[in-house]
């Protein structure tokens, strides 16, 4: 039943995006609708657990709501379908073949690297949390420090999506986390392609899409089945949406606020992203109160649910719990700075050479790229991560080894997209000026 509900939600949200004319591109509308549906499923499933609502009642409610909307919008669906059929295609046959071929290679590489139950953290953290959530009367057992190694304070977006499908299908099959991970990873190249096509930057968009599909940075992390790729996706979405805001009708700001705040519900690192993003976003639109109101409207629900979870259920985070006054003394230990710089350098230059080359090239070609919102947000996030490593109560080498690559994975897709979109837009403006 949950799968049916997801389908109805996707269609309903597609209709809403279409009727409000937020985007023209079909692919972008589908990707945003799917991401929104996944978020709604996760939040609603968690609320049903928190409030102790019977699972059958929850399933009926979550399915009936969008299905009623779809029935009322039946005429609209027919109009949309007719309009899409009459529309002149934006892609030639060869371009379509190229896109689908890249997607096939992406899928083959993803599944080739995937393993049953995923890598260590996939089953020891994310799927384990999902197993607890399947039991509505015992899910609370998870929130104990007796099993602190599984980080019971971690937010519940990925576990709740997996648990809701498991429970609905009456199974705990490893195929569910695998397919959730596949769809999440596939969402990144498709979102990027949709965004470029919407902005009519087809050629540069295709290059960016091919990099996303064939680049090792995506398959490797995606196939691990961790929540990090989901966070990468939700970190990227707000920046993609910013590129499509209609200044006359800034309704997209609700979605930007929603997606930015939902990153908080995926991983604890999402908190840092949300705060940094919100501050920079607020400063870049200081005089526009309407922008702030719409952004906050979108962010409110995800924030309230996460804060409720953190306040009522989640035990204290291990980093916070193990910190003491002596932790602050580490600020003066020069060796720690050296070690962290070494790891940062290896991670950026050798493990993410593509991102490194793209960033250096972008800054050489146009230093103004450093003043973009993306660059500023990412720079502050990296500095914040650096500071966390300096004062970490954990063994520094162990902490760096186990987390630094993931932190860069959160921002790598965003950086690649931002470089391409920056120069794509710049090129478009220059070409437009030449024509006029």
């Amino acid at each position: 039943m949950i799968l049916l509900a997801i389908l109805f939600w996707i269609v309903s949200l597609y209709i809403i995006l279409d009727t409000h004319k937020l985007f023209k591109n079909k692919l972008l509308k589908w990707v945003i609708s799917i991401c929104l549906s996944a978020s709604i499923l996760s939040f609603s499933f968690s609320i049903h657990l928190f409030l102790g609502i019977d699972f059958l009642v929850y399933q009926i409610l979550i399915t009936i709501l969008p299905s009623i909307y779809c029935i009322f919008q039946f005429r609209n669906i027919k109009i949309i379908l007719k309009r899409e059929a009459d529309k002149k295609p934006t892609l030639s046959n060869w371009e379509l073949i190229l896109i689908l071929l890249c997607f096939l290679i992406f899928s083959a590489l993803f599944f080739l690297k995937s393993t049953r139950w995923g890598s260590w953290d996939a089953w020891a953290i994310w799927s384990l949390h999902a197993k607890f959530l399947v039991f509505e009367d015992q899910f609370i057992n998870l929130f104990t420090n007796n099993i602190s190694w599984t980080h019971p304070d971690y937010p519940l977006m990925l576990p709740s999506i997996i648990a809701s499908i498991w429970k609905s299908l009456n199974t705990t099959s490893p195929m569910v986390p695998l397919f959730v991970s596949y769809l999440t990873t596939a969402g990144l190249p498709l979102l990027v392609l949709g965004s470029f096509l919407e902005l009519q930057l087809k050629k540069i968009g295709l290059i960016c899409y091919i990099i996303f599909c064939l680049g090792i940075f995506l398959h490797f992390f995606g196939s691990l089945q961790y929540a990090d790729t989901l966070l990468s996706l939700f970190v990227l979405i707000p920046f993609v949406l910013i590129n499509h805001i209609d200044k006359e009708k800034p309704l997209l700001l609700i979605l930007i606020g929603f997606f930015a705040a939902t990153s908080v519900w995926i991983k604890n690192e999402g908190f840092l992203f949300f705060i940094v993003f919100s501050v920079f976003f607020a400063f870049s639109h200081l005089k526009n109160i309407k922008y702030h109101v719409l952004f906050l409207m979108g962010a409110l629900v995800p924030l309230l649910i996460t804060l409720y979870f953190k306040g009522v259920y989640a035990p204290i985070n291990d980093l916070v719990n193990e910190s003491s006054v002596s932790t602050l003394n580490k600020v003066t230990e020069f060796d720690r700075y050296k070690t962290i710089c070494g790891y940062f350098l290896v991670s950026v230059v050798f493990k993410n050479p593509l991102v490194f080359i793209l960033l250096i090239s972008a800054l050489i070609l146009d230093y103004k790229y450093a003043f973009t919102l993306v660059f500023k947000v990412v720079a502050v996030i990296i500095v914040a991560y650096f500071l966390v490593y300096i004062v970490t109560p954990k063994d520094l080498d162990w902490h760096l080894k186990t987390s630094i690559d993931r932190l860069f994975h959160h921002i790598s897709p965003l950086l690649i997209y931002s470089v391409f979109i920056y120069f794509g837009k710049k090129h478009k403006i220059i070409s437009f000026k030449k024509v006029t």
């Binding site: 046959n93 096939l104 139950w117 607890f132 039991f135 899910f139 057992n141 998870l142």
Partner: protein, 129 residues
Amino acid sequence: MKKIILLFFLLLLSCILFYSYKSISKKNDIDFLEVATENIRNTSLETPNVYYFSNSKSPALYFKTQFVLAPKVINQKAYTKIPEGAYILMVIDKNIKNAKVISSEKINLKDTLVKALDNDYYKAILLKK
């Protein structure tokens, strides 16, 4: 033409999914442990806490036991510190020759509650202290 391209794409994608399913559906140690603990999973206890002992020193087996037995909480504690009446889970990894789970002089276990389904890889027994 576009419809033919899309159909061909879906066909190829289905082939990828089919072959991936075949390789991913091969069972691993989590699945074997799941089978070995099936009776224990289905036994309802008055407390979610179970104390874990094993002949394996590997933390992986402990984590995997927690994974297959959720929503029960699998704790690790010295035998002497475990309260009377608490549940004890013994997981024996058959690949390890040493079958000693707890030193015999310490054992004061009332009765075996559930004997798990035995398989080639693992044996699990639930007891009460």
